[in-house]
Symmetry: C2
Subunit: 275 residues, 2 copies
């Protein structure tokens, strides 16, 4: 499995990926799931991938040479000359469909799903930052102010903290911290996600990327985040009053009736019926 | 979908279930997923169910009359005369198999999975408390000191806090609070889980259940837990230092090399190859 998350903020973008790949529990390896494309002062793009590794590697390879016809009669569109991230995402979708044309039928015969999901974001000179999630059919959706982040792979464990923290106004470093906390929750609860991590921080309108980091076990900042978050979470939990069951203001009233559900039936007799 | 969790502690057991059932997003209803069986001073049992509602309702109905042959020639074994929770879990497994015999083939023809999962725990006079998770094949596993809780349904959002808090030594009220926090994370991130909740707290060796509560939107304790947890989580998050990227003690060192992965390749040229 995999966990990747990308966030689009007013201040910039955060991309974070783990590196564990597995084919069953007894075949675990490390592969990079982040790829950065940059033509300084012109475009920055970052691709995160999850799913079948043979598919995602092929997609990344093909993305380099993939071309789309320009209906206005110009040069074929590639990720290097696309005039918008939307067009670049179309090129990526076309690369996914090319791999499907090549491998789809054989995979199906072997009973293997054509399973790949991608996050692709960045900025091209002349427009704002954009962030896309690309599906295995090559179709895609774009992040908006209401949904400023995408996750692929094992996304559930790490979603609550993103839901609570991330808005378009979140500062870049805070979003990076949030992505790392989200990754920590995922690492803690799911073995199929593992270190090292790759993280890229892009500052809006710079059209180049300087902050890319590979985070291993011994990374002091990530170690601090992991231990502090675990401790603080525990303290936050301890700070909440226990239920008291005694009728006082904050206690749980001892009723098992519900306006919507009616009384809970306690079965106390073998011949009583439930439904 | 559904979220149910049950915890077995030295001090007792906690059972918590939501009540949302849905067949697609446009058919949402409330059904109780908790059933309590009690013969005071002799046995207490609690059943939580997830999966296809027609299957789980049938299983609950059949559980009342299900009998297993006693290989020692005694009376047939039911949940009301079983001498161990293990035998009671076998009776439940048999009820699941009975429903499968009745409905399995027709469901398969209709392309519907035989999907049911159950948590079944309690105590029978003469032995300690026991907690089981029963699968759709009628087979089951038992909770141990290393894994003192089971979850069914939409389990991932609420797992991190359980992983961090629950041990067999956790006091009963603290475990109840933890189950509610776990439920809160699930409610926040997944629409298919909804109020009201049913919660039952069983104190070890009492062989009867007094603390059963139905929790609706207006329950003051759960409202307090939800708002306090959200706020405290945010404070805990804010308390963690941001990454500084400047080479100081807690910053993220700006390297994109990894001992295991090697350097991250930034693609800066259309003709460069990735792999």
């Amino acid at each position: 499995m995999t966990y990747c998350v990308a966030v689009k903020l007013k201040a910039g973008m955060v991309f974070l990926s783990d590196s564990r790949t597995n084919a069953g529990l007894d075949q675990i390896s490390s592969f990079r799931k982040m790829m950065v494309y940059e033509k300084a002062d012109d475009r920055f793009m970052c691709l995160l991938s999850a799913g079948n590794l043979s598919i995602s590697q092929s997609v990344r390879e093909m993305l380099q040479t993939e071309q789309l016809d320009d209906h206005e009669g110009g040069e074929p569109i590639t990720i290097w000359n696309a005039r918008s991230m939307f067009d670049a995402a179309r090129v990526l979708g076309a690369a996914v469909r090319h791999v499907w044309q090549r491998d789809g039928e054989s995979l199906q015969r072997a009973g293997v799903d054509f399973n790949v999901s991608l996050i692709f974001g960045g900025q091209i000179r002349g427009e704002g930052m954009r962030l896309f999630q690309v599906y295995s059919a090559g179709n895609f959706i774009e992040a908006t102010a209401e949904t400023p982040f995408f996750q692929i792979g094992e996304s559930k464990y790490g979603k609550p903290v993103l839901d609570r923290v991330i808005t378009p106004e979140t500062p870049l470093d805070e979003a990076a911290k949030c992505a790392l906390v989200s990754m920590d929750s995922t690492l803690k609860s799911n073995l199929s996600v593992g270190l090292p991590l790759d993280m890229a921080l892009y500052e809006a309108d710079t059209l180049r990327i300087d902050k890319i980091v590979c985070i291993e076990e011994n990374n002091p900042y990530f170690r601090m985040v992991r231990s502090t978050w675990g401790r603080k979470l525990r303290e936050a939990f301890d700070d909440i009053e226990h239920p008291t069951w005694d009728g006082s203001q904050t206690s749980v009233p001892l009723i098992c009736d519900s306006e919507r559900l009616g009384p809970l039936k306690k079965i106390t007799n073998p011949r009583e019926r439930l439904i």
